[in-house]
Each structure stands twice: as structure tokens, then as C-alpha cells.
């Protein structure tokens, strides 16, 4: 207990906890809608774009987040356009955009040889190295994303359940889809700092599928996803600090442990 108290005194732990919890909640709320709409892997695709964008940010010697957020948002709209207007299947559109982005990222990495180590930290996350500036940006953007989810909760719910019926209700499905995908783009850009591009999709998928094992109601599913995500970040940060493990990977494994636990509970009912 003393060790945890001691850890809490460190500013880098405080920043990691605050940033991680807010970003984790965004991932959890959006994850419920994305998983139910079978769009979970969009997080993975956008993370690849994020890596390329971070590479560009480092290449240009600017704050990576300032470059990655608009670029990932643009890529998310590109995916939406490809699947809606160009008749490309959604998973193929995600693959196409992420492959192009990774290719660009690799070329940038080879051209600017000096930033490969920094890029590595974005590949696997480095939440303990998150700066105060990044925490403030993460909290501000997370509040906006969570606010959007609550503002359009009923529309998102109706579309997730049955998109065609949502149209009959007069819901502007295309606009809401854009809002969902843009919020996802912002969240993925922020989440790369927490668990890295390799693991960001797990931050979106795990809390949602864990909550879906036991939730008896949609609101409850959202709430449980946020709770599991928050607990995973809190436990993950402390365990990684105590055991000297990589924080992003530890958070993901804690998330997985929650999933296994709820899966067993569901089977035992």
C-alpha cells in the first residue's frame, strides 16, 4: 500500500493515470458502438495511420499529436468515403488506408533516420512519458468526445441496432456516422500514447466485449465498459510500476484478464 502511495507522489504517475483514465473512457464508450457495428478493427487501421502521422510529426520536428490528430481524422473520413461512395467493403477500405499510411510511415522513417527511437515509443506506447501538455490536450479532447457520445447517444444506439430503421426514424445516419468515426480518430490518436499503435485496438475492443458479456441493458454496457477500462488503466499503471513491466502491454493484459473473468461468470450463470 505504501508503495502505491509512494508511486502516486510521482508527477509522471499522476499524469499517466489522469491521461490514461480519460482516454480509456473514450475508448470504452466508442468501443461499445464500434464492436456492435462490427467496426472494431477501425481502431487498428487508424492506429497505422497514426503511426505514419507521428512519423511525419517527428520528421517535421513538431509535436506529433498536432500532426496525427488532423491526419487520422482525415483518414477516417477517407475510409468512410471509400466504403459509402466508392463501394469498397468497410474492412477493405480500412486495410487500404492503413497500408498506404504504413508505407508512407516506413519511407519517412527511413528518410529521417534520427527519430526511429521516438517512433518506437509510439509503436508500443509510453504513457509514463506523457507530458503535462499532452495530458491537458488529452483531457480536453476526451471531454469533447465523451460529450459527443452522450449528445448523440440515442442516435448512435438506434444506428447500432438497425441502421435502416434509424433512417426511417429520420435520423441523419451519414452525419452521425461521420461524428462517430471522427471521435474514433481523435481517440485513437490520443490512445497511441497510452498503449501504442500495436495495441490501441485492444483498448477499444476489450472493455466493450467484456461489458457485453454481462450487461443487461445498453446504458449498463456503456457504464461497465468505462469501469473496466478505468480499472485496467489504474491497475495496469501500478502493476507495471511495481513489476517494472511495459505499461501499455500491462494495461492490455489486465483488460484481457477482465474479459476472461466476465466470460467465466457468463458461462457459470
Amino acid at each position: 500500500m505504501n508503495t502505491i502511495w509512494e508511486a502516486l507522489q510521482y508527477p509522471f504517475i499522476q499524469r499517466a493515470l489522469v491521461g490514461g483514465v480519460f482516454i480509456g473512457c473514450c475508448c470504452a464508450f466508442l468501443g461499445v458502438f464500434l464492436v456492435l457495428r462490427r467496426l472494431s478493427l477501425i481502431g487498428d487501421g487508424l492506429a497505422h495511420v497514426g503511426l505514419a502521422a507521428v512519423g511525419l510529426g517527428l520528421f517535421l520536428n513538431t509535436q506529433p499529436l498536432w500532426v496525427s490528430i488532423p491526419l487520422v481524422m482525415f483518414a477516417s473520413l477517407w475510409i468512410l468515403w471509400l466504403s459509402d461512395k466508392a463501394d469498397v467493403y468497410a474492412d477493405a477500405a480500412i486495410g487500404l488506408v492503413s497500408a498506404v499510411s504504413v508505407a508512407v510511415g516506413i519511407i519517412l522513417a527511413s528518410v529521417g533516420r534520427g527519430f526511429n527511437i521516438d517512433l518506437f515509443s509510439f509503436l508500443f506506447g509510453s504513457i509514463l512519458a506523457i507530458s503535462m501538455h499532452e495530458v491537458i490536450l488529452s483531457v480536453a479532447l476526451s471531454v469533447i468526445v465523451i460529450g459527443m457520445v452522450f449528445l448523440f447517444y440515442h442516435e448512435l444506439f438506434a444506428i447500432a441496432f438497425e441502421e435502416e430503421y434509424a433512417r426511417v426514424l429520420g435520423i441523419p445516419v451519414e452525419k452521425i456516422n461521420k461524428i462517430l468515426i471522427l471521435c474514433t480518430a481523435v481517440t485513437v490518436s490520443l490512445g497511441i500514447r497510452v498503449v501504442g499503435t500495436m495495441l490501441i485496438s485492444s483498448l477499444i475492443i476489450f472493455p466493450a466485449i467484456t461489458a457485453l458479456q454481462i450487461a443487461r441493458g445498453f446504458r449498463l454496457a456503456m457504464l461497465l465498459a468505462a469501469v473496466f477500462s478505468t480499472l485496467s488503466v489504474l491497475i495496469g499503471v501500478f502493476v507495471s510500476y511495481l513489476a517494472d513491466l511495459p505499461t501499455g502491454a500491462t494495461i492490455v493484459l489486465i483488460n484481457f484478464a477482465f474479459f476472461v473473468l466476465t466470460f467465466i461468470i457468463k458461462k457459470m450463470r
Binding site: 448523440f152 440515442h154 444506439f157 441496432f161 430503421y165 426511417v168 435520423i171 457485453l212 454496457a221
Partner: protein, 255 residues
């Protein structure tokens, strides 16, 4: 008053003609069954009415307004074909599903308040699913799900109900009960009902009008007229009269 007026409507999916030269009017208080073989354009007609598909030709008006400019979707309740895409693990309760129907009466920001839930309860009571309110939609039988979707369609107390094969996934006894519920809704509450069915022999005994589609409108009129029509023999064969019109033909019941 005509709630739906369809004039010379054609719909094409690329080179494939799904509907051609359809003209019909549905008046307030009608209980219309749309029948026809697979691929005859029944669901396409519904989608065209609901402005989910562009028309190649013709026009559709709802409550006297062109369907493309129609905005009062709370006046229309729609029950889609048994949710083919219904994800069994979707974590929504019956109450949440029925409440989502209220959104057609809302504009941005679409919020559902406490007073809206009295409408939800009333709709659930009307179709008898109050006891299922806290159950998850994926846990229900096909018949129960259909009742839930009917409650969702009725939550705004619409004048017009459009139902796309509402009995496709339910057993004959439940189907009979479902048709009776619809007849009560039509007779007691004066709701106009338009229903797609493959089940001509059953629905004919409940609906007041029958529309037979086969890409074009083959027949539109009363069930007794249909039974006596040459179209009936042409489409179902000379020996189907007894099977479809049977002993419970409304004409015979009246006699």
C-alpha cells in the same frame, strides 16, 4: 383521406427492374395485405414508400406530401422484416428498443425524457409485452421480438403502420394471434395497416384489402374479389382456391 398515394412508380436496381407502373392509394382505416412471390417487389415497395430507395419513375405521397420532402415520420410506424441482422448478443432491453421509436418525434438534440416513458409503457401494454420490459431483445422468441418491434412502431401513436413480413419467423398459432392483435389495432384504434405477407391464406381473412404484386400490381381489392378473380387462378393454379380461400372466406362468413 389517402395516407399513401402511389402513382406510376418504377424502381430499378441497376439494369434489374424491381417494380414497374405501380399505382395504388391507401386510405385511412384500411387494413391492406401485400402478397406476392419472392422477388416480386414487396419490400422494395415499402422501401420506396419510406424514402429509403430512389424512384426511377413516378411519385409517392404520404399524407399529401411528396415522400422525398416528408418529415413527419412519427406519423408512420414501421416494423421491418424480422431483423435478419439482429445480433443475439445486442445488450438492449425491450424497454430501450421500444423507447428508440420515440426518436422519430424528436429533433436535435434527441433526448428521451421521463414523460416519454409513459408512451413506451402504453405501447408495450397495447401489444402485451410489458412483462418483457427488462429482458434483452436477443433472449426473446421470434414472436415476442415481433411484438416488441410492433410496440416500437406504435410508440408515437402513428396513424399508419407498415409491417414487412411480421410473421415470417413465428409458429402458426402465434401468427394467428399476431394477426388478431393487428385486427384489433385496426378496428379499435382506427389505425391504417399495410402488411407484407407470403401467407395469403391467413392474412386474407384479416385484411380488408389485398394487393398482389409481381413487379407490377396484379390485383388490388377485397379478399373475396381476389378469390373469385382470374388472377387468383393464374398465380396459384386452378386447385389452390380451396387452400387459399378455404372455408373461412369473409364472404362465406357473412353469408
Amino acid at each position: 383521406m389517402n395516407l399513401i398515394e402511389i402513382k406510376n412508380v418504377c424502381v430499378r436496381y441497376g439494369p434489374i427492374e424491381a417494380l414497374c407502373s405501380i399505382s395504388l392509394a391507401i386510405s385511412a382505416g384500411d387494413y391492406v395485405a401485400i402478397i406476392g412471390p419472392n422477388g416480386s417487389g414487396k419490400t422494395t415497395l415499402f422501401k420506396a414508400i419510406l424514402n429509403l430507395l430512389p424512384l426511377t419513375e413516378g411519385s409517392i405521397s404520404l399524407y399529401g406530401t411528396d415522400a422525398r420532402r416528408f418529415t413527419q415520420w412519427n406519423k408512420i410506424g414501421y416494423v421491418p422484416q424480422v431483423s435478419r441482422n439482429l445480433h443475439k448478443g445486442f445488450p438492449a432491453t425491450v424497454r430501450e428498443i421500444v423507447a428508440s421509436g420515440i426518436l422519430s418525434a424528436k429533433s436535435f438534440p434527441r433526448m428521451i425524457f421521463g414523460k416519454d416513458y409513459s408512451k413506451v409503457i402504453k405501447a408495450m401494454e397495447t401489444v402485451g409485452v410489458c412483462d418483457l420490459a427488462e429482458r434483452l431483445i436477443g433472449e426473446l422468441s421470434g414472436g415476442q421480438q415481433q411484438r416488441v418491434f410492433l410496440a416500437r412502431a406504435m410508440v408515437n401513436d402513428p396513424d399508419l403502420l407498415l409491417l414487412d413480413e411480421p410473421t415470417a419467423a413465428i409458429d402458426p398459432a402465434t401468427r394467428e394471434q399476431f394477426y388478431k392483435t393487428l385486427r384489433e389495432i385496426n378496428a379499435q384504434f382506427g389505425k391504417t395497416i399495410v402488411l407484407i405477407s407470403h401467407d395469403a391464406s391467413h392474412i386474407g381473412h384479416f385484411a380488408t384489402k389485398l394487393a398482389y404484386l409481381d413487379k407490377h400490381l396484379v390485383f388490388f381489392g377485397g379478399f373475396d374479389q381476389f378469390c373469385a378473380s382470374p388472377e387468383m387462378t393464374r398465380y396459384f393454379g386452378p386447385h389452390a382456391q380451396h387452400l387459399i380461400c378455404g372455408q373461412h372466406c369473409p364472404m362465406k362468413e357473412k353469408q
